[in-house]
């Protein structure tokens, strides 16, 4: 069974007439990283909420079609300060909050928390009060808190937005490691230049519907670049009216330029 299967999913927020998602069918296999790209408001965040069983369960509204998950899912929201529990006075306790609520034995909670802190390079901050952290540090805490619950499907909504360059690199590498461990990953991001290294598949959303699906090479195509969804290198190559095909990455560009 797939980590996630959306079958003809359409979703309406409460008191709205037009759907935020339109007839979306999508699968994420265990070990696969699928990236959602699109203009702001294209439906990527809504799709993650539906995939994580938060919409309509928490948001209200109406879902047509189905969303099925093989395992428990975890979602990283784009605004870490809205996801922090507010009930923990150390980073360690914050990360332990989720596993503790799953009713796990203490030694398993400790094992998962220590592992998650290590993976997000948060060990030096373990005894800090989450309220004193910078936005990027808090974002890493939230990611650790989700991973400590060991979800089979991890949903990321702009997870690198608050992170500095080193934090973003750590995260992108970690996402590949999580996939290798067999987790399904669904990732909404505007960090298009990271996707050639991170994503197995790219889903382009437009006005709530799937416009195109492909490998990250999709982000070098003319239509994607025109829609502002090309990688920086592909976009500037096309702006320069250099010959097709446009390179996806700097390495590709160097190869083409010779």
């Amino acid at each position: 069974m797939k980590s996630l299967t959306l079958d003809h999913a359409s979703f309406w927020y409460p008191a709205t007439e037009s759907p935020a998602l339109r007839d979306v069918s999508l699968e994420v296999a265990p070990g696969e990283v699928v990236a959602l790209v699109g203009a702001l408001g294209a439906g990527a965040s809504t799709l993650l909420l539906v995939a994580g069983d938060l919409a309509p369960r928490m948001t209200g509204g109406r879902l047509e079609g189905t969303a099925a998950r093989r395992d428990r899912s975890g979602i990283v929201l784009p605004t870490p300060w809205t996801q922090v529990s507010g009930m923990a006075f150390t980073v360690w306790d914050e990360v332990a909050f989720g596993p503790a609520n799953l009713g796990w034995p203490a030694h398993e909670i400790s094992r998962q928390v220590d592992r998650a802190l290590e993976r997000l390079e948060l060990v030096p901050l373990a005894s800090r009060d989450p309220a004193t952290l910078s936005g990027g540090e808090l974002q890493r805490v939230i990611i650790a808190a989700i991973l400590a619950m060991d979800p089979g499907l991890v949903l990321f909504d702009e997870p690198a937005a608050e992170l500095d360059a080193e934090g973003a690199c750590t995260l992108w590498r970690l996402i590949r490691v999580l996939a290798k461990e067999g987790k399904g990953i669904l990732l909404a991001t505007s960090a298009l230049d990271a996707l050639p290294e991170v994503a197995d598949r790219v889903v382009w959303l437009e006005q709530g519907a799937v416009r195109a699906v492909g490998t990250p090479d999709l982000l070098a195509e003319a239509a994607a670049c025109e829609a502002g969804l090309g990688t920086s290198v592909a976009t500037v190559w096309r702006d320069s009216e250099l010959p097709e095909p446009a390179p996806l990455t700097i390495i590709d560009a160097v190869r083409r330029w010779r």
């Binding site: 699109g38 203009a39 702001l40 408001g41 965040s45 784009p78 605004t79 300060w81 809205t82 004193t132 952290l133 910078s134 936005g135 990027g136 540090e137 890493r140 702009e158 937005a161 608050e162 992170l163 500095d164 360059a165 080193e166 934090g167 973003a168 690199c169 505007s190 230049d193 502002g228 969804l229 990688t231 920086s232 290198v233 976009t235 500037v236 190559w237 702006d239 320069s240 009216e241 250099l242 700097i250 560009a253 160097v254 330029w257």
Partner: protein
């Protein structure tokens, strides 16, 4: 000419945790300055000091000829407009329009002028179509833009923005760049925190880099952003355009997209010439 902003030997700690140590710089009217550095380097704390929400332990923050120690934040709002990192916490009205107009109305400008500033600020960041919506019905990126519109509507001498383009797509990022360039052309000084060095390259001329609370670098972005060996110890990596310029050996090592595109086309034409 008095700078729009001047910090003199500013140090600050949260309790026993030191955050900023002996930071000094000044920004002239119309200057466009990016504030860069790792998470936890002290960038957001600097914003709070400039907005008058914190007082320096040592040193002085001057906004024009005002010492921020002598001012309450609402006084400083005459000269400084700020978008904080967690802009959601700045939004409180039930419509985007009411939120944006709150600032100029609180300053006591006439109602007609409030309307003009509100309309103009909404238009500047492409939010006119969302003016009557509740801010919390908008996605996070647009909520940040609503806070930015509120700051623009104050028509300040100094704009201080903490990560204004998080969650925005390419078109809206370009729109923010355009709005900031227009304000700078009208002599507004800009100090903007960002981790997005592409946005930094497109929008700003000068870069300040904070490293563990000290000012590690203050120079022209065009020379800094292409220099991977200097960026690395500061926790920064060259943005894609700078890396591409270097990798392809483009003359002048441009870092802005339009300049890279122009150079690529020019060099390619030269290769084809007989």
């Amino acid at each position: 000419m008095i700078p729009a902003l001047r910090l003199e030997g500013v140090s600050f700690s949260y309790g026993t945790v030191p955050v900023l140590a002996n930071v000094s710089f000044s920004i002239a009217s119309g200057e466009r300055v990016a504030l860069l550095g790792r998470n936890g380097a002290g960038k957001s704390t600097l914003v709070r000091l400039i907005a008058g929400l914190q007082r320096p332990d040592q040193g002085t923050v001057w906004v024009g000829d005002w010492d921020t120690r002598d001012c309450v934040p609402e006084q400083l709002a005459w000269r400084v407009a700020t978008v904080f990192q967690h802009a959601d916490q700045q939004l409180f009205a039930t419509s985007v329009r009411d939120d944006v107009s709150f600032g100029p109305r609180a300053l006591g400008v006439g109602e007609r002028e409030v309307q003009r500033r509100t309309d103009s600020a909404l238009q500047d960041v492409d939010l006119t179509a969302h003016a009557d919506q509740h801010p919390y019905d908008l996605p996070p990126g647009l909520r940040k833009l609503a806070a930015l519109a509120g700051a623009l509507a104050l028509e300040p001498a100094l704009l201080v923005l903490d990560e204004p383009i998080i969650g925005l797509d390419r078109a809206l990022r370009a729109r923010v760049t355009r709005a900031l360039l227009e304000r700078s052309a009208a002599s507004v000084a800009l100090l903007v925190i960002t981790h997005d060095l592409t946005f930094a390259a497109e929008t700003f001329d000068r870069g300040l880099v904070l490293d563990r609370g000290t000012l590690a670098c203050d120079e022209r972005l065009v020379s800094l952003l292409g220099d991977a060996t200097r960026l690395e110890p500061l926790g920064l990596v060259p943005p894609p355009m700078a890396a591409l310029s270097t990798a392809l050996g483009l003359p002048g090592r441009p870092v802005r997209e339009a300049e890279v595109a122009r150079e690529l086309a020019r060099v390619a034409r030269g290769r084809l010439a007989p």
